[in-house]
């Protein structure tokens, strides 16, 4: 119990309570996130209904290949994060460290690819509010499509960036041997968070990239 004394915060009765608390807290936080993205998805639905042609046209200008690769990258990263949680639970130090490291790395890859895409859109003058020039019909719809694209993927990217930072922090702590099968809440809740960010992308990808594939 010597170890548990150091990690048990003063106001909890035992580690069990502490773990349950942190997990429930994370789930509730994820609930708020659902509502946050809910607003964006609702806006998307409303305007896709108003400007079907504009949205289709906007979607045609997406780099579907990069999007698909990014989807794969995130899914694989989720696998490694899950692996690290498993490692933390069972005391597999290698799994824990490598899982976190590769997960974070793939997150970074995703961000780089996203950056490439953003730059590409900038080159094509498709960034509403900053540089937007669209000569073809349905300019309004396309503009709103790109606006929502940047807002949605942007907020997603912010979430992922935060996720990467936390994973790195956890990685350092794990390297220093902070976690054990007895105490590894931080790994578990960062795992939850990571999967959530992943799931959001799973929704974003088809809605933004795949709505009009007949070219």
């Amino acid at each position: 119990m010597a170890e548990s004394e150091t990690v048990l915060e003063h106001h909890f009765r035992d580690l069990q309570q502490q773990r349950e608390v942190s997990e429930l807290g994370m789930w509730i936080f994820l609930m708020t996130e659902v509502l946050l993205f809910g607003v964006l998805f609702t806006s998307y639905t409303v305007f896709r209904h108003s400007y079907p042609a504009g949205f289709a046209a906007g979607s045609r200008d997406m780099e579907t290949t990069i999007g698909a690769v990014n989807t794969a990258v995130l899914l694989i990263s989720s696998f490694f994060i899950a692996l690290s949680v498993y490692g933390a639970q069972t005391g597999g130090r290698k799994k824990l460290l490598w899982g976190l490291a590769i997960g974070a790395l793939l997150g970074v890859v995703f961000m780089i690819l996203k950056g490439v895409e953003y730059y590409d859109h900038y080159q094509h003058r498709e960034v509403p509010g900053i540089l937007f020039d669209y000569a073809k019909p349905n300019a309004h719809g396309v503009e709103i499509f790109f606006y929502l694209y940047f807002v949605m993927t942007g907020i997603h990217a912010i979430h992922l960036t935060i996720g990467i930072c936390i994973v790195v922090v956890i990685l350092v702590a794990a390297y220093r041997g902070r976690y054990s099968p007895l105490y590894h809440n931080p790994v578990e809740i960062v795992g939850l968070y990571w999967h959530f960010v992943d799931i959001v992308w799973i929704f974003l990808f088809p809605l933004l990239y795949l709505i009009d594939l007949k070219r």
């Binding site: 108003s50 042609a53 019909p137 349905n138 300019a139 309004h140 719809g141």
Partner: protein, 632 residues
């Protein structure tokens, strides 16, 4: 009505011992009764009081020494039947082919719905006013109706009498029942109705027609008995229901409510509301309900449109119902707080059990009241939202911080709207910049004016005068300065006003604009044209490229001008440029008005094939082919 019965049954039987329960329950009961009886349809009495009529001799003594014969042929005095109970009296004749049977049936039906039993709480006397009828006929009838009524003991309480002409005449005169023999048909012409008499033979209540709502009948009996029968809830009901002599019904009245609640004052609320309600029987449409009117003019807004009256009636009813609840709750709190105050430091409370039925009562009853309010409010809203077909259309443009009005005849005004009395006016509104809201308190209309779409509202003024027009959606610095007035004029004056010049009708201004912008270069009205024909477009179903259809209304036309790519008509190319930056809202409205004047076609036109033949266009030469060198 069964709701009332149910509630009072429940209250009377189940919670007899519990003071709080009872009080609360009676409070809610009253609301529900009030709500329901307000929504009763008015009876069609015109048909009923055609041949003869009943004069009310309220509170007069009926001679109880009159002599009749009972079903067995024995001589009886009327007073034999007045033994400390109220009496329902009906005058019929037994061979009557029609109305009397209906009266007896309705009586039986109503009485079957009462908690009171014939013979126990009250007696019934049915007297034939045909002197030629005898006890045998009476006995038949008695057997029939006693069986139909179906409760034990009725035979000893319901008496079917016959008698001599002199006696009948005296009785009929005393109660004000007029009838006449019609030799041509061999029938009597007479009114239908029944009376409730007090135990000592005075006329307490009349009920007209062929329907006697059980609740009214019950209240009549309770009142006639001077409180000897019925539950305390009935007494409270009587306080709140008022017998309306004109219709022979019990109607809930404000006075009753206020008397009950007013005794205990809520600081403020009653101070203002108690300012007297007035019984307004003059209003024909409202004979059956009561229009309470504030006497202090400062407390009510002007009422100057057809809908305003309806809103007011609803509002006052809501004030009554809600005021009653508020006063009730606050009264209870005060009573409890005083009655159960802590008298010594260690005084303990008295344990009182939880009560499931009570909880359910105060869930279910408000629910019903709320549904009533919801239905009424929604009904009102729908009538406020749907302008009549024949309305004059006035276009309104709101911009920071002024109102612009365009009459169909071409008149334009700023911050003033002239309208004729007694004609429905439909306002179609657009905003140039931010959201505004057109609000005319005297008409009780209130609609947001939203940029990017048209909203509508309507009114029909009932009183000439000048009324406030407010912007009530906050719209920036001078929001409170975005006010104007609506001037309601006599139709003649309005015509005179209209003829004071102007720039030609709105449609003709639109036509001018249509040409100026070169719209006619493409919208030629030809089958081969690059753009769809606009003739007969307004109100038609349009087939779109996307496969959807849309009705060509103001909003659609506006969108097609401002954002032409949004909805492409099937069979056409998206070649039209936007006019977003060239037109202001007023000009768009002119164009719409012009397109509208090109005729609304009923038939749906199949896609692509634009109508070919020449259409009667009210504005001559509007759509003729133009040689102009292509519009923008």
């Amino acid at each position: 009505m069964s709701a009332i019965k149910m509630i009072s049954n429940v209250s009377a039987r189940r919670y007899r011992s519990n003071f709080a329960t009872r009080l609360l329950l009676s409070v809610v009961t009253v609301f529900i009764c009030a709500t329901f009886s307000y929504s009763q349809p008015a009876p069609d009495k015109a048909a009923l009081i055609r041949s003869a009529h009943i004069d009310q001799h309220l509170n007069q003594q009926v001679p109880l020494n009159l002599v009749f014969r009972d079903e067995q042929g024995h001589k009886v005095h009327l007073q034999d039947y007045f033994n400390g109970k109220p009496v329902i009296l009906s005058l019929v004749y037994y061979q009557c082919p029609m109305l009397c049977t209906v009266v007896l049936n309705a009586m039986t039906e109503s009485m079957s719905d009462l908690r009171f039993d014939i013979g126990k709480e009250f007696n019934v006397i049915t007297v034939s006013f045909d002197p030629n009828e005898g006890p045998a006929l009476a006995a038949d009838k008695k057997e029939l109706y006693v069986r139909r009524y179906g409760r034990a003991g009725a035979a000893s309480g319901w008496h079917f009498l016959t008698g001599e002409e002199s006696q009948i005449k005296q009785l009929a005169e005393a109660v004000g029942f007029n009838y006449a023999y019609d030799p041509s048909t061999g029938q009597y012409a007479h009114a239908s109705g029944i009376m409730v008499l007090t135990p000592d033979g005075r006329l307490a209540r009349y009920f007209y027609g062929i329907k006697y709502p059980p609740s009214d009948l019950r209240l009549g009996l309770v009142e006639a008995s001077a409180g000897k029968i019925g539950s305390p809830v009935d007494q409270i009901l009587l306080l709140c229901y008022h017998y309306d002599a004109a219709t022979g019904k019990y109607t809930p009245i404000a006075i009753g409510f206020m008397r009950l609640g007013g005794a205990i004052t809520l600081v403020g609320l009653v101070g203002f509301i108690v300012v007297m309600w007035r019984h307004d029987v003059k209003k024909k449409a409202l004979t059956h309900s009561i229009v309470p009117l504030f006497l202090i003019p400062q407390l009510i807004p002007e009422t100057a449109s057809t809908e305003a009256h309806k809103v007011d009636i609803f509002f006052y009813l809501m004030v009554l119902v809600c005021g009653f609840v508020a006063v009730g709750v606050i009264t209870l709190i005060i009573i409890f707080a005083v009655k159960y105050r802590r008298k010594s430091e260690d005084q303990l409370a008295i344990a009182a059990p939880q009560s499931m039925p009570l909880e359910i009562t105060w869930i279910v009853i408000p629910l019903f009241i709320f549904i009533g309010m919801f239905v009424w409010g929604t009904d009102l809203y729908f009538s406020l939202a749907r302008p009549p077909q024949n309305a004059i259309e006035v276009y309104v443009v709101g911009k920071q911080w002024m109102w612009k009005f365009q009459h169909p005849e071409g008149q334009r005004e700023i911050n003033q709207l002239h309208v004729p009395l007694g004609r429905p006016i439909k306002l179609t509104m657009a905003s140039q910049d931010v959201i505004h809201d057109l609000y005319v308190p005297a008409f009780r209309i209130h609609t947001d004016v939203v940029p990017g779409r048209y909203t509508t509202t309507w009114f029909q003024a009932t009183k000439p005068g000048t009324y406030h027009l407010f912007c009530s959606q906050y719209c920036g610095t001078l929001h409170s300065g975005m006010i104007g007035e609506v001037i309601v004029m006599q139709p003649d004056d309005y015509l005179r006003w209209l003829n004071q010049g102007g720039e030609g009708s709105l449609a003709s201004q639109g036509q001018k604009l249509f040409r100026q912008l070169g719209c006619n270069a493409c919208h030629t009205g030809d089958a081969e044209a690059r753009c769809p024909s606009l003739i007969g477009l307004y109100g038609r179903t349009v087939y779109l490229q996307s496969g959807n259809t849309i009705i060509a209304d103001d909003d659609y036309i506006r969108e097609s001008i401002m954002d032409p790519q949004a909805k492409i008509v099937a069979g056409f190319q998206p070649i039209m440029p936007t006019f977003r930056d060239q037109l202001d809202q007023e000009q768009v409205l002119e164009l719409i008005s012009y397109i509208r004047s090109l005729g609304a076609q009923r038939q749906e036109v199949p896609p692509v094939s634009a109508p070919t033949g020449p259409q009667p266009a009210p504005v001559q030469g509007a759509i003729q082919q133009s040689e102009s060198k292509g519009g923008k």
